[in-house]
């Protein structure tokens, strides 16, 4: 297992998974990755929002749009919970954007976004916008919060090649369920232009919420 080299501490990390057309997913993925399908012709859009309070990128908020893909399983290696390819990341600060692009080769929206987190009774509302234009609104609901430590494979791709990092998410309070209680509204925007908005389900089939957590990246490995 490679050593962790990037650390990002957050108050809330909220992720919901939505069905989306496989045709869109294929278009958003590089040629060496295939989308997972939750149903025939229905792949998985992952929408994640973080509010980081310290770490390598400083204090900022982030929204990540990603497609779920198969992990790279190796005999003898720990099995990841999931694998994903972030196809567009938005952040609220220039330094965090540069960190994401230069260090992790993640494609970014090249303007600051605004992200708000509003925690309610067993739910959290997230709004993402940029320059006064809405990008998305997402509500996630909770189940039981328990301590967790999960491994993900995160794939990146740019002009210089294809890469993977093992990303570990740890936290004291993690809730996950598939009760389909959350919601998603996507707006037409540069950040969502790769998606056929009408064809993305407006309810998640899985809702995940991690409180007081840390996201740890291993060094990029070339594929």
């Amino acid at each position: 297992m490679p050593e962790d080299v990037g650390h990002y501490y957050f108050n809330n990390g909220v992720n919901c998974l939505f069905e989306m057309p496989t045709s869109d997913a294929r278009r958003l993925l590089p040629a060496h990755l295939q989308p997972l399908e939750v149903q025939h012709e229905r792949s998985i859009l992952s929408v994640t929002a973080f509010d980081f309070y310290k770490g390598d990128g400083g204090v900022y908020q982030e929204a990540v749009l990603a497609i779920l893909v198969p992990p790279r399983l190796e005999a003898g290696e720990r099995l990841p919970k999931a694998a994903l390819f972030p196809f567009l990341v938005g952040t609220t600060t220039e330094p965090s954007r540069r960190e994401g692009i230069d260090r992790w080769r993640l494609p970014h929206l090249m303007q600051d976004i605004e992200v708000t987190f509003e925690e309610g009774d067993e739910c959290i509302d997230i709004s993402v916008g940029a320059g006064g234009d809405p990008i998305l609104e997402m509500t996630a609901t909770s189940y039981k919060f328990e301590a967790t430590e999960m491994l993900f494979h995160t794939f990146m791709s740019d002009d210089e090649g294809n890469f993977v990092s093992h990303v570990t998410m740890e936290g004291e309070g993690y809730s996950e369920h598939e009760f389909e209680r959350g919601s998603l509204t996507l707006y037409k925007h540069e950040m969502t232009k790769g998606l056929t908005l009408d064809e993305v389900n407006d309810y998640p089939f899985r809702e995940q919420w991690l409180k007081q957590g840390v996201e740890k990246f291993t060094s990029l490995r070339s594929l």
């Binding site: 025939h40 005999a75 720990r78």
Partner: protein, 448 residues
């Protein structure tokens, strides 16, 4: 075990065998479905490592060898211990009307064996069609009130053959999200555009229907096999017809049970003539094997020519066909069978309700015993088996996370004493696991 290497107890002071096993149970089949790499066997080694630990930890509860007919009490071989468990109350079999082992059915099977031998020895469109197959199809069409019926080797192949036989690339198929795997596989095979609407949510169905011009097929089930609830068929029919869609209903769990004459949920709602395609199976209420489609003569004639899952399979065994035909005759002659089933369904629901056992929205003979605890569903399953109940666990990914359950099948053959005993055991075990309140002592009995 490599799949959970970093969490293995040997890496931690005080790790136990229980810890090691539970780490394997953090994973499930979904973790081994996809994998990167160039070798088609790349998944086998990680899967084998996982299976070696997860099978004895709970997955062994599936497919335990039954020692006789699927009666209301059965002997089961526990493959973990090798011991035969005697006289378990059987709430796992689909034998809803208790017809699979009726003496008259057995006699019909024996007679057919003498006449036809064992197999059909050919495709039904070539040499594998015998007189008994034609008799069964005609009798079934009459029962369903349809012009014609086509028989398939299994219920799975019926959905596959009908959906892929009818729909083409560029068409649209919209199925309820809880539709059976055979429906999904039929959709894939057809190459049509596939969509799924939220379970029983007609507004979502309409949202998806109205965006599409062209041939459309909507697919629902009569009774949903994991939840025991039924399709909201009147609303689904209204929306589907408004948008020019044909409707297929899979009545695998509802034919011979719902409706005035037992034709199914479509009849129950008075929509038998409005639904375009009726699918059913012989393996549930009639206690045999195989599937069928019923509909208009033009539909059946067309499907006879285009249902590849049928004509590239051997016809169902004439022996099985004879047993099904006799079971159908018994069903029609003994309406009290359905009455007894419904009385049992009502009684078991009331017993479980009295015990505080969560059963979701079930209103049928399929009753999900919801335990919600994915990590302990197998442990609870073992406890139920030890206490005398044979019932199958259902866990993620067959159902969503935290919606693990036991799928109970109620039969007309169950006696009231068996239902009461079953409810008492289930309630007592679930109480031990904190799933239902301490009420088992209060379960009343009308049979003393």
């Amino acid at each position: 075990m490599s799949v959970a290497k970093s969490k293995a107890p040997e890496d931690r002071p005080g790790g136990t065998e229980g810890d090691r096993v539970s780490s394997a149970m953090q994973y499930d089949y979904t973790n081994f479905y996809f994998g990167s790499g160039d070798d088609a066997f790349a998944m086998l080694e990680p899967f084998s490592e996982w299976w070696a630990e997860s099978h004895p930890a709970g997955y062994y509860l599936y497919g335990l060898p039954m020692q006789g007919a699927p009666e209301t009490r059965v002997d089961i071989r526990d493959t973990k211990t090798g011991k035969i468990l005697h006289d378990l109350l059987n709430f796992a079999s689909y034998n809803y009307l208790g017809l699979s082992y009726r003496p008259e059915v057995k006699e019909a099977v024996i007679e057919a064996t003498h006449l036809y031998g064992n197999g059909a020895s050919g495709s039904p469109i070539l040499s594998g069609s015998m007189e008994i197959h034609h008799q069964l199809a005609e009798r079934l069409a009459a029962f369903k009130g349809k012009e014609a019926v086509l028989i398939f080797p299994t219920g799975y192949s019926a959905n596959l053959g009908v959906i892929a036989g009818l729909m083409r690339s560029g068409d649209l198929i919209i199925a309820d999200q809880y539709a059976h795997a055979s429906v999904v596989d039929g959709m894939i095979l057809s190459k049509a555009n596939s969509r799924f609407f939220r379970h029983n949510k007609v507004e979502d169905l309409e949202r998806k229907l109205k965006r599409f011009d062209g041939k459309k097929l909507v697919i629902v089930e009569g009774v949903y096999s994991m939840d025991g609830d039924i399709a909201v068929l009147p609303e689904i029919m209204e929306v589907s017809k408004r948008y020019g869609a044909r409707v297929l209903i899979d009545e695998a769990h509802s034919t011979f049970i719902y409706g005035e004459t037992g034709r199914g949920v479509a009849e129950h709602f008075g929509l038998d003539d409005e639904v375009d395609i009726h699918i059913g199976t012989f393996s549930k209420s009639l206690g045999g094997q195989g599937g069928f489609v019923a509909g208009s003569k033009p539909l059946i004639d067309y499907l006879r020519g285009f249902s590849r899952s049928r004509f590239f399979s051997c016809g169902i065994s004439p022996v099985v066909a004879a047993g099904i035909l006799r079971a159908l005759e018994i069903f029609e002659a003994e309406p009290e069978l359905r009455q007894r089933l419904w009385a049992n369904v009502e009684y078991m629901h009331s017993l479980l309700n009295e015990g505080g056992v969560p059963v979701g929205n079930s209103e049928s003979q399929v009753v999900p015993i919801l335990v919600h605890d994915d990590a302990r569903v197998f442990e609870i399953g073992e406890a139920l088996m030890r206490d005398g109940i044979y019932i199958n666990p259902v866990q993620y990914p067959a159902v969503p996370k935290h919606k693990s359950r036991f799928r109970m099948s109620i039969s007309a053959a169950h006696s009231r004493e068996e239902l009461e005993q079953g409810a008492r055991i289930i309630t007592r075990v679930l109480e031990r696991y904190g799933i239902c309140p301490k009420t088992s002592d209060t379960i009343t009995s009308t049979t003393g």
